[in-house]
């Protein structure tokens, strides 16, 4: 991990039209290769925060800055729309809770994975295909399925296809929104292992939003606990989970059923 920050949130707040509070005054610095978990229950503001951080929703206040390639920190929302769209297709990735939001369901798995490559000018069919096959292997999907449509895949496979599709462009930062939501427990487990391995091997930084403490325990180095729009505690994951300081953090940790 280097000394230069990768993502910086400063006083990020968002209030929806009509006065509903999303998130309030969130700030943190993320370094290359770090995985930050954000936990909270429904209404905690974590999804709003993720939308702001990932360039999808301009915050009402505050800034989100990202270290562009070869440039200094840039305010994500000061970028022009094409620059931001390009960023979101290359250096960033978003793993959606519902794979349907992150995949073209009527394009084959290979086409989905190759899309990011083709979007930035890849023009050799053979190369694109072999990279797609390589990635299918890395996310433990049978190579035979490369020409199949994602709608014929199970939920876990769709999710893994989504991950491959994003990682193919070697992003430096990946946002994940409930990456294991809606999956069977055993499928969740396998997916988490995969994510953990990939994130470590590729040195990708990640922001993982979830309500599931087991997910952050396994995946993230650092943790932020959110409640009613605010960050109530933050620190190393094991510290926040083993020695929570804030009343709400203690409540959250003690509420988790131990298997």
């Amino acid at each position: 991990m280097s000394d230069a920050p990768l993502l910086q949130a400063e006083g990020v707040s968002h209030t929806y039209a009509g006065g509903q509070v999303g998130c309030v005054d969130v700030g943190f610095t993320l370094y290359p290769g770090e995985v930050l978990g954000i936990v909270g229950e429904s209404g905690s503001g974590k999804s709003t925060l993720l939308s702001c951080l990932s360039g999808a929703l301009p915050p009402s206040e505050g800034r989100v800055r990202f270290a562009g390639q070869g440039q200094g920190m840039q305010d994500v929302f000061q970028l022009s729309e094409p620059e931001r769209r390009l960023l979101m297709r290359t250096d960033w990735g978003i793993v959606h809770q519902n794979p349907r939001d992150g995949l073209h369901m009527s394009v084959s798995a290979g086409g989905n994975i190759g899309e990011r490559l083709m979007a930035v000018g890849a023009r050799h069919y053979g190369d694109i295909r072999s990279e797609a096959l390589d990635w299918l292997g890395r996310v433990e999907i049978d190579a035979e399925r490369v020409d199949d449509l994602p709608r014929t895949f199970s939920g876990g496979m769709q999710q893994r296809t989504q991950i491959a599709r994003i990682l193919v462009s070697q992003p430096r930062l990946v946002f994940m929104d409930e990456p294991t939501g809606g999956l069977d427990v055993s499928v969740q487990a396998r997916l988490l292992d995969l994510l953990r391995g990939l994130v470590r091997d590729l040195g990708v930084a990640a922001v993982v939003v979830t309500h599931d403490l087991a997910v952050v325990r396994l995946l993230s180095d650092r943790l932020m606990v959110m409640r009613q729009g605010r960050v109530v505690e933050s620190g190393l994951t094991d510290q926040v989970l083993d020695d929570p300081q804030h009343p709400y953090s203690q409540l959250l940790v003690s509420s988790v059923l131990q298997a």
């Binding site: 991990m1 610095t29 370094y31 770090e34 487990a189 396998r190 292992d193 396994l218 180095d221 650092r222 933050s234 620190g235 190393l236 094991d238 510290q239 083993d242 020695d243 300081q245 804030h246 009343p247 203690q250 409540l251 003690s254």
Partner: protein, 234 residues
């Protein structure tokens, strides 16, 4: 901090506040001062509940002290672990302080040898070398070979403990925190573990250990530190 001191605890205090129990406070220790030099092993003693584990965990930033400092010699610079940026705390854990805990937090579905190799890879060893080193250690610790490629979830206490030890000692950490390193081990494996610890010590590691087994304590520790002397007022 003199050149040889690797770890210096200054005025460390810890009180738990249990908000879920109506804000009840649980004071543990108060005003702990301790210095550990390279090549030195200090054993924490004190009755059960005195705060030995709590202190050890505080030295790893796993528990957050209520007040005080923990100075670490990290990359030849003195850094206060308490209050350092998470990035620095993670760096310290990666490079400077190793922790052998009493309970192996089971990372599910990862085979034993890989858990150990991971730790070596994190320290810069290449994958193949790390796996070999992991297997060599497991061999030394007498873990049956058929268990090497099995995730430790189904291991016995002693088997898990050996995985723990291997994971903590595969790299030459400048500072080692050992929480009951020989618990659950039979005599033969206890000796192996002690040998490994002594080797680390010989390489210059500064060690803080909790060891209720007096024989082992006598073998590895240069001094004892009684945590109960710093018992916080209720």
């Amino acid at each position: 901090m003199t050149q040889k001191v690797m770890l210096q605890v200054q005025d460390l205090s810890k009180t738990f506040t249990l908000h879920t129990q109506g804000g009840a406070t649980l004071p543990v220790f108060d005003g702990v001062n301790l210095a550990v030099e390279a090549g030195q092993c200090i054993a924490l003693t004190g009755a059960s509940g005195a705060g030995k584990s709590t202190l050890l965990r505080s030295l790893y930033a796993n528990y957050r002290p209520t007040s005080g400092q923990v100075f670490i010699r990290h990359r030849d610079v003195i850094v206060n672990l308490i209050g350092a940026e998470p990035r620095i705390q993670l760096e310290i854990r990666r490079e400077t302080i190793g922790y052998v805990s009493q309970f192996l937090r089971v990372i599910p579905r990862i085979p034993a040898e890989e858990i150990i190799a991971e730790a070596a890879v994190a320290g810069g060893m290449d994958d193949a070398e790390a796996l070999e080193a992991a297997r060599a250690l497991l061999q030394r610790l007498n873990l049956p070979e058929r268990l090497w490629s099995v995730p430790p979830a189904t291991f016995s206490g002693g088997e898990r403990q050996r995985v723990n030890i291997a994971r903590g000692l595969i790299r030459s950490f400048p500072i080692l925190l050992l929480d009951e390193p020989t618990a659950s081990l039979d005599a033969e494996n206890r000796n192996v573990a002690v040998a490994l610890i002594m080797e680390a010590k010989a390489k210059g590691a500064a060690i803080v250990a909790i060891c209720h087994d007096e024989t082992v304590r006598a073998e590895i520790a240069d001094a004892v530190f009684d945590v109960s002397l710093f018992q916080a007022a209720a």
